[in-house]
Symmetry: C2
Subunit: 346 residues, 2 copies
DNA sequence: CTGAAAGCGCTAACAA
DNA sequence: TTGTTAGCGCTTTCAG
């Protein structure tokens, strides 16, 4: 069973390479008869195009756009961005390049601009980390109409025909978080630390996490008093004051949870006021991992954001080059539990 | 900055494509002078060969051999083998194929035969899951002398110039295991369930795990009495009897650990004799996960064996096609902690 | 609607 | 030691 080429098909059908190529790519301008002849032979011989030859002859370079929030080093989205580099390996030989387009995660306006910029570059595919429901849907509409495939990471939105989604189940992650915080035993009081500006975003993933958390508590630790405290990520001093005031008022609280990647913000305070606490947060920022290793943070729920963007890129590349659909559209990824004894090789 | 081709180089150096190709591939038969000229221009222009053109012209297919134990569905090595499929995606466009060569993990003779069979097929690279120290080293020697790159998964051996290793740190995994078993509090008694024939193998990964486990117990739970029980994986009835006898004699033991993937073997007994226990095992076999979800098993330490073979294959492919060395030779991978609340999307 | 032909960038056999 | 040449399998004009 030698591999069949376009020449074989041309010969067998009595047509020319050119015509065969036209039916192969639905380029039209082919009579029904020729079309059928070619299709029949293809099916019969199980023809598979040679990718190398095709790409060599084509000789162009496609680009996949990555649309994510601006990120300073060490932050969640910085880790996510690392997935781009990972993906490069597999992409280079396919002559696909990636390019980041960043937006301010607190400004819909900025997001819109980034979208426009993406479109200008006429990408072959787009990875989106959506924060603004409406703006995202408008953008996806446009991509859809241009026939550009796109995938979501982190948060899934209802949008027409997204290619794939990679992220963790938000509700369940909150549920798990509660299980880690309580270690299975009912508790009497707990504190949720929240970030001030997060409320402004239209699609805050922590909403679902809180819901999952609350449900677990209702089921396994009824009667627990849960309080919230808002802190300003830009203002460490104010954060300290807020925590100080809180613990003056409620000294008995020793279970603390933060539903986003910012648990590290309260670590300095906690370390200056040591106590026997359980503290649970999310995501493997280096600051979080350090606090975990020091014992200040009890557990972290991590989600490998690099993997998410890596896989999203990969699914787009597969679609673009091979016309292959991902095995699953929605890919809920594993929630990693990190404690001090398995944090080292993470 | 247009992309420079072999023709540009030929033109610039006043030599021919043929000669340029020869220096590009160290094929010899080139004068020092020509060699230098070409190298200089290459450096200057930053020439990068076009992979597609190269592979198209070459037109051959390389194969990577995977040398692992025989595996029935649902077992550890069966999961590992899934990594092969995952790798295929990225490999197909590189015209690399993979092929499994399996051996009986309790027979050195069988391993030797598998090695011979691998060599007959003249692979471009080999992934090895080593169980027999001496035989493996002999084999690696041979690969080395033939210039065939190879990588280890699961267990690392001292062998000359292996390309890469992917696995979890064995000692630390035992340490972590102990932390999960005791959940931080000292305990009085514990049981280690072991598999009979494992002692026969020359490189039993559970040895290091036990060492890590013991050290943790010494440090955090001194005075704990640790007992061992051997069971026969082929004989469920005998396993039951053994467990029965054990718990008749030591009814107070309610902390149980199994250092390999076979914790599922004791699950039927445990479920017929319910009690409040902590049971910790390794690896995400579906039987183990099921027991975890039912609550019979408290925690599982998993290591994504598919990832390990996937990455090992990938590192070999990179080496074979791109001449690229892996970023790190030894890759210690994360140990996943599985409990009932994060087992579902695993 | 179809065929012919000129590449894409590189390899490898053959001459010189 | 070097140059020439014929492809590898596919794409893409351009005539017809």
């Amino acid at each position: 069973m030698e591999k069949v080429t376009i020449n074989d098909i041309a010969r067998l059908t009595g047509l020319s390479k050119g015509t065969v190529d036209r039916v192969l790519h639905n380029r039209g301008e082919v009579s029904r008869k020729s079309y059928q002849k070619v299709m029949d032979i293809i099916k019969e011989l199980g023809y598979e195009p040679n990718l190398y030859a095709s790409l060599l002859a084509r000789g162009e370079q496609r680009t996949i756009a990555i649309l994510i929030p601006f990120h300073e080093t060490g932050t969640y989205w910085d880790i996510a961005a690392k997935g781009e580099a990972k993906a490069q390996n597999g992409l280079k030989p396919l002559s696909i390049v990636t390019r980041q387009f960043c937006y301010n995660q607190y400004s819909a306006e900025s997001f819109r601009e980034a979208c426009a910029s993406v479109l200008e570059n006429n990408p072959a595919g787009v990875v989106i980390a959506p924060m603004f429901q409406y703006e995202t849907q408008v953008f996806c509409q446009e991509l859809q109409s241009r026939g550009i495939p796109y995938s979501f990471i982190d948060t899934k939105l209802e949008a027409p025909g997204y290619l794939s989604f990679y992220g963790i189940p938000a509700y369940k992650s909150g549920y798990l978080c509660a299980a880690m915080l309580t270690s299975g035993e009912p508790i009497r009081e707990a504190l949720i630390v929240r970030i001030m500006r997060d409320k402004e975003r239209q699609s805050d993933p922590t909403v679902m996490r809180r819901a999952g958390f609350m449900d677990y508590m209702l089921e396994h630790s009824p009667g627990c008093t849960i309080r919230s405290l808002f802190i300003d990520p830009e203002d460490p001093a104010a954060t300290d004051d807020a925590l100080d005031a809180f613990f003056k008022e409620f000294p008995g609280v020793n279970h603390i949870v933060v539903f986003n990647s910012r648990v590290h913000l309260i670590v300095p305070y906690l370390e200056r006021h040591p106590a026997n606490r359980r503290v649970v947060g999310f995501d493997n920022l280096s600051a979080n991992l350090a606090a975990l290793k020091r014992g200040t943070v009890t557990a972290l729920i991590a989600q490998r954001p690099e993997e998410q963007v890596h896989m999203a890129i990969q699914s787009l590349a597969d679609k673009i080059i091979f016309q292959r659909m991902p095995e699953r559209t929605d890919n809920y990824m594993h929630m990693d539990i990190l404690i001090r004894y398995n944090a080292e090789d993470y």
